[in-house]
Symmetry: C2
Subunit: 356 residues, 2 copies
């Protein structure tokens, strides 16, 4: 097939890990006979530095004509004043809204080579295979916000419509059908009105359209405990934007390293957005030691969800798994014999080139 | 001294654990020569059943004339329809607002007898001694909330004023002075305007008034990971209402059982409100097996923070510690030889009666 893929390296370690994604995409194209047109765009702090805008119009145009977008990371101490007029994160939030990617998929399935770095007792990690579906374009992230009373009062409005809840619920349910058919919906319905709307819409959608899926509602505070006491008991976890932000970071510890966790953000129609869940890691940027696997696994999600190339996605996932099994580990995963970012990326690309 | 203490047993296991608090208060009064006038009031589901109101006016009047309020727990499946016109939690939220208890203190310091039940690797728990200071009367809990567009859109407004942030920040800083003088302020300043106000007010208050306290700002999503990877590196953790709800439940796993964690909610002037952080546990209610220690430790906080009785508070804490050391454990803490709620409560009261 022919596809156009936008790469947005961004800040910090973003360019280093995205460079490995480019090598991997070339390997996929060669091995499976596809033609990928790859174009790079600016986002985040570097875009502010070069254009004054964390999401310049050229980047928006690039993403709108692309079939899929792969992002590295945005932000860093240079742009971290929360009261600055423009901030790198604004570019990312605006891109999510522009692409309409309302469903953020974050799988968490610990690999043994990394799970030993998890803070949890090893026996609790057996059988853990989670898929978070986080609503990504609504809630307090995108509601009205501002100051009143001469700046002495600040406010944020969280807002959700029935339609916003329905579409992400259906996405989660469809994904659950390809898995263990179990959804845990997380909210704070004993306090928030938005949660009460979520609870009633989720209940209705499952009752009417997905009678084959088992579902439950759990309060967000309780969920933080259940995720640690019995992570293997969950399958698909559906939640709103802010709770999803918090819970997916918490759950990331189950995998032993943030450096292994990919994400896919998808909507209806336009390009999907793929990114590692780790940040720009300014403390290790430029040293060639960052773990590229989260980004390479994000490429797998891109191949599967935006291009419909499931065999290619599986080839990438298998290659990363082989790398972990073979002890091809970056510094976050091993004290001794750590490989560099490009060695890790090359190993995975080589496995893909020879994939059966 | 003479003091009036309001007991609000509430729902589920609430009455069982509060019964042990009453025995303990009698033991303290006898041992240290105080006169405690103890009066009970209705709150939560039982108050809805008996009066239609989750916080009847008599309970408000009782709490307003009391020196301190001890609450068991509210809620249960009988009243759990999120769309019901009145809900048990409303009674609790209204009580917090009525008493103006804006600072919710939740200490987490694992005791070895329970820490083995924590999901974390034991070495991570060494030296963990946290004090959460959660803002309790603002944010999305108390902002405007409702429906628009014929019920098809729901919203919640989170709002904070400079004054609300200042007073709880000062409380946290004063508490930090009696500890390791380190505060971690948790927010989501890369997204929320309320967080950006928090960040600037916290920075100013520390700079101007508490130069002796070390402080840092951490994003809430990152904090969920740090709490698991390096819990011992934190001292006082200051945060807004909803993040505090979520993070304190997450951190409760460090202690091995929710049944050990007390809380104190204090304001300026009126009575403080003390409650275990666990809920009403309807699944084990009425069986006499609930762990009363969180409630007894809440009594210790009541003695210290509302009555200024520090020696008495320490006697209670030492008695609970002796009980844990001696293996006087309820069913949440031991598979074999579990004691009942009243046996555990009696053991602690007996240690207090003989305290030096
Ligand atoms: C960078 C930040 C705005 C972002 C978010 O909060 O969504 C990040 O934490 C994430 O989870 O992707
Ligand atoms: C019962 C509920 C309203 C309450 C809260 O969210 O504050 C509880 O979870 C708590 O933490 O005290």
């Amino acid at each position: 097939m022919k596809a156009t893929i936008a790469l947005l390296p961004g800040d910090g370690i973003g360019p280093e890990v995205v460079a490995q994604a480019r090598i991997l995409l070339d390997a996929i194209a060669a091995r499976f006979g596809h033609t990928f047109t790859i174009e790079e765009g600016l986002i985040g702090g570097i875009a502010i530095d070069e254009t004054g805008d964390p999401l310049p119009p050229e980047t928006v145009a690039l993403c709108e004509r692309a079939d899929a977008v792969l992002l590295g990371a945005v932000g860093g101490p240079k742009w971290s004043d929360p009261n600055a007029p423009v901030r790198p994160e604004q570019g990312l939030l605006k891109l999510r809204a522009t692409l309409g990617v309302y469903a953020n998929l974050r799988p968490v399935a610990p690999h043994p080579a990394a799970a030993k770095f998890a803070p949890l007792k090893p026996e609790l990690l057996e059988g853990v295979d989670l898929l978070f579906v986080r609503e990504l374009t609504g809630g307090a992230y995108f509601g009205e916000k501002g100051r009143e009373d001469n700046g002495r009062v600040a406010f944020d409005v969280a807002r959700y419509s029935v339609e916003e809840i329905e579409r992400v619920t259906r996405r989660a349910a469809q994904l659950a059908r390809g898995r263990r058919k179990k959804i845990t919906h997380v909210d704070k319905a004993n306090v928030l009105e938005t949660s009460r709307l979520w609870r009633s819409v989720v209940t209705r959608v499952f009752g009417d359209e997905f009678p084959d899926i088992e579902f439950e509602h759990v309060l967000v505070d309780a969920m933080t405990m259940h995720l640690l006491h019995r992570p293997a008991s969950f399958d698909v976890i559906l939640t709103e934007n802010l709770f999803g932000d918090i819970l997916t970071d918490e759950a990331s510890v189950l995998a032993g390293s943030m450096g292994l966790l990919p994400s896919a953000s998808i909507g209806d129609g336009r390009a999907g957005l793929y990114e590692p869940i780790h940040g720009s890691a300014p403390d290790i940027a430029g040293q060639g030691i960052a773990n590229p696997y989260a980004t390479l696994l994000s490429v797998a999600l891109l191949l599967r969800h935006s291009l419909g190339l499931d065999a290619e996605a599986r080839a990438v996932e298998s290659a990363v798994s082989q790398a972990l099994d073979a002890g091809v580990l970056t510094r976050d995963l091993t004290a001794e014999g750590a490989v560099s970012t490009s060695q890790a990326g090359e190993y995975v690309a080589a496995r893909v080139r020879e994939a059966a």
